[in-house]
Amino acid sequence: MKVKKLFLMLMLAFATLSITVQASGNTQPEATTEVAEEKVYESRSIGQMLVSFYDTTGLKAIVQPQDGITNGQGQEMSIFAQSFGRIMMFIIIGVLFYLAIAKNFEPLLLLPIAFGGLLANIPIANMTSDHGMLGIIYNMGIANEFFPLLIFMGVGAMTDFGPLLSRPKTALLGGAAQFGIFGSLVGAAALSQYTGMVDFSLKQCSAISIIGGADGPTSIFIASALAPELLGAIAVAAYSYMALVPVIQPPIMRALTTKEERQIVMKSTRKVNRLEKLLFPLVVIAMTILVLPDATPLIGAFAFGNFAKESGVVDRLSNEMQNSLINIVTIFLGLGVGSTLASDKFLVVETLGIMIIGLLAFAAGTAAGVLMAKIMNKYSDEPINPLIGAAGVSAVPMAARVVSKVGSEEKPGNILLMHAMGPNVAGVIGSAVAAGVLLSIFK
């Protein structure tokens, strides 16, 4: 009995609270006269109170969706997006949590993205509106492409170009892997031209195909520049597939190489002069300025981070970029991207198309890198293990680690990690260049 009484009291308290909240919410200047009337508190029976409280619950919003409910951006939401859509999103988010926590798949980004998605799908709270937390974060750094650049700065400060400088021609492998981007661009165009399953514009095709660059920040940068409406799906696809690199790449690598080729041992790399490392970011910047100014935001931030690291005199700044700054931005980036996982935006047939094309892009990039490495091995004076071509998709340093793992499985003791880091970091530059080309086309 006592419990029942307590429960009733609590419900009463909540009901009054919700009414006060409603009333105070209505005191906005744009309130109409009709709303102003509601401000006057009328005595109601407990039954009415319970009913009106029920109207404010998320339970009702999901179970009894209504027409005319708007999302954070003021667009009307369909009945499906309000009810089953939300439930489906909660299930998808549960899967993302599982992948991040139990499977350890890119947890640093998948977890904040998934949680952002969870918050974005809460009914009534409208967290994705311009005054909601997620909306503020989104407008602060994703709509204007700022956060990906900060991430790139941190990645630059973490990257060691030593392996690339000691064997410059492996940079071409990082170029070949960009076929993943352009090949899937054709794939996306064909999908919307001939199947009619989806209807992507060329801009949208380009934004999707950048998933093949296997580079999260670049994908988000391009998506928010060319097709912000697809950002959520593109970011989720890019990070999920990056997390799946150890699953996607090895079968392709094995299929395209012979056992002898996989067992090739590469010569150890030479020691790189510190001055070379210091000058390298400046060389890259100089080339970007001359050839592709459109890529300078990405490459400029990257080169700045790397220059700060290699200069050796601003360790405090470079440490900040590698640690605190990149961590803070990762939180914001994840939540901001998560805000685009609202059911009405994500549960569309385009998302399925993006997932398919993204997988295709990853596979094509890996294959092109491996084939290019095979060709280089044939015509080169020093042996090149074709496996390192797979590291040409960026996904630093995961792709290089996968290469090393496959290599040492074939021949224990054959450590390819340092050799694979060359194409790996070249892949970052390559995908930034590819991104610049796509941006320049749509100028």
Partner: protein, 78 residues
């Protein structure tokens, strides 16, 4: 706008993109080789710089070994 064949446009993008990416990286490769050569020729003093530090650590290790030996010896004496 609707008459544009998406696939042929995408193929053009691909040709342009792959050419630019490859030229960019090929030039970068040449520049890396060039700078390695130039730096190796005109600023080679960096390499000997590395050796003394290695020696220094060796010396330190030696000193540490000597100190350890002496303390051990003193301990045994007392």
């Amino acid at each position: 706008m609707e008459e544009i064949n998406l696939v042929s446009e995408a193929l053009k993008f691909m040709v342009l993109g792959m050419i630019v990416v490859f030229i960019f990286l090929a030039v970068l490769v040449q520049l890396m080789k060039l700078q390695a050569k130039l730096i190796g020729k005109y600023f080679p003093e960096k390499k000997p710089m590395v050796k003394p530090t290695v020696q220094a650590t060796d010396e330190k290790a030696q000193t540490a070994a000597i100190i350890a030996a002496i303390t051990e010896f003193n301990k045994n004496k007392s």
